[in-house]
Symmetry: C2
Subunit: 339 residues, 2 copies
């Protein structure tokens, strides 16, 4: 009971490969955190095998993870984001179309009742249907967390469009104005890196260096951005083999070279197609290692990072719960409000 005094919200960051449950107090302070391996793919695959309905399977995991919190405080509101709202999730929630204000009246939550009488509110993902269609699910909440942090740091320029960049298996580049998402695009950079370094003819049997080889990384960036114009990863990837053959790269540098080549190609492609205004402010929101790589790469391509943060889903869920008046006393949190 001691940990739960002052608890205001249960927040679930439930993605493809993991589930993290947070007990939050005032201002979204984390009182307790529990990590499970029951990602959405694990739960849905097991349910398929057992012939169990997804609703039952996800509620079971939820009960095991958060049941005692709700036994003690049955009125505690629950919010969730991520792939838990997909067709392989607890329930499939609709996508919101753009433009989508992440803090205003348009916030879309899908209420899922549980047998114990609690309600889980799943945050909708977003769909950009203005061009080649694109989707995010979970990242919209990280974007909100990132701009809450940006505003708290005083670096936010709410008058102009900014870009929130979430690097990862599927990198997401998200354009926002104020707290409204206006466009986004997905790059499969991390997944391609994994395929090329483990499943392709470029994969090296030798172990990667323990520390990043920044020379190889920067060489990859420069090849990706070299004149007479970016040839694209299809035309440059093979150099990961030929540079080794000609003695200009050691086998244990290939992974960092490919990391630079792929991240550089991503940025070059984005600049050429989606990011006309290269003076735009960029908020970087990812794991520390990826943030470091992307910051170096962005700066090398003439773009500037104005704010950097690690995974920000918790503060995004807290802020969404405040906006949606889920908390029993919505007036008390000191979260900033947006213009």
């Amino acid at each position: 009971m001691t940990k739960q005094s002052g608890a205001r919200l249960i927040a679930l960051d439930w993605g493809t490969s993991s589930c993290r449950a947070f007990l939050l107090g005032n201002d979204g302070i984390v009182l307790s955190e529990r990590r499970g391996n029951s990602g959405v793919m694990d739960v849905s695959t097991a349910a398929d095998l057992d012939g169990l309905a997804y609703e039952e399977a996800f509620e079971e995991v939820f009960e095991a993870l958060c049941g005692d919190w709700l036994t003690d405080l049955p009125a505690l509101p629950v919010i969730a984001c991520g792939m838990v709202g997909s067709n392989r999730g607890w329930v499939q929630t609709p996508y919101r179309l753009l433009p989508a204000d992440l803090t205003g009246d348009g916030i879309a939550l899908t209420a899922v009742p549980t047998r114990r009488g609690a309600t889980v509110h799943i945050i909708s993902g977003l769909m950009d249907d203005s061009k080649l269609p694109d989707i995010i699910r979970g990242e919209e909440t990280q974007v909100l967390g990132a701009i809450v942090g940006e505003q708290a740091s005083g670096s936010a320029d709410l008058e102009h469009e900014r870009v929130v960049l979430l690097p990862g298996t599927h990198s997401k580049w998200v354009r926002i104005k104020g707290s409204t998402v206006t466009s986004f695009t997905t790059c499969m950079t991390g997944e391609l890196f994994s395929l090329l370094t483990t499943k392709s003819t470029l994969a090296q049997p030798s172990a990667r260096l323990e520390e990043a080889d920044w020379d190889a990384f920067v060489l990859g960036l420069d090849v990706a951005g070299a004149p007479p114009g970016n040839g694209g990863i299809l035309t440059t990837a093979f150099s990961a083999r030929t540079l080794v053959m000609t003695g200009r790269l050691r086998p244990n540098q290939v992974e960092d070279y490919l990391s630079g080549l792929l991240i550089g190609s991503e940025i070059a492609d984005i600049k050429a197609s989606w990011l006309a205004d290269i003076t735009v402010q960029i908020l970087l929101c990812g794991e520390p290692d990826l943030n470091q790589r992307y910051r170096m790469a962005l700066e090398r391509f003439g773009l500037s990072v104005t704010h950097e943060t690690t995974t920000s889903a918790v503060i995004g869920m807290w802020r969404t719960a405040v906006s949606a008046s889920l908390l029993s006393d919505a007036g008390s949190p000191a979260s900033p409000t947006f213009v």
Copy 2:
């Protein structure tokens, strides 16, 4: 003996995953053909496991495949092309640097003696070291075969630079003037197609259609070439999922869509970086299915194919043997000569 009357040359097309042996008569006519599964990777991997020297292992396969031909005609010359000359091959042959005339005095053959007294002449691959280094091994011989065919058809414009395009796992774009290679570049298009359609999150469990879905293929081409400029495969690949989610593509169309997206991206990248002159004549040399796809794609991107042929390694090896005076009577073959 009957089949071998008139035999002039044994030609080995020995690549990574297969070995094909040809008994050739006058003018390079195929008198007999034998296919083995003993590709270079198979032979070298087995040799590694057995602790056998590569020389012995390759000679053993060669003996099993061609020994009876040489028993009957011990003086028959032998020529070989492909990965058999790589560091995993029979012997590692050096790369020729560019510019490299495929028919002139510069032809580089590495003579490998066998215990029975025959000599196998392995054709060197080429290295383009004028830019990001690039290599071909075996394709130089296909290029020669393609331009021999081009000249025989009367479509050759020997005064101007042309491009020989060899689509495949690793597509090769080869610039030639007359019979001299001046530059080339490798695109990992086929390998990326295989990775994305079988190992990535875009892979579909449902079977591909038996016949190609040209609508999906052309949609992929158009997305790859769409204004405001090609975003590149990193930014467009995810649409293979979102177009299905939004009902604009059926799951069994995804492979052909990705085929179009990748081939289109390859051509867009090549046009943007390597192929400044888009009026250049293109010779297409690949398997019939790939030729059909690349012809459609090239024409959609405003490039024109002036000559098309399927795998042409045999005629390239014949022509190389003639140039290198390997044949006992080099004057008799009616192969064309180059200006």
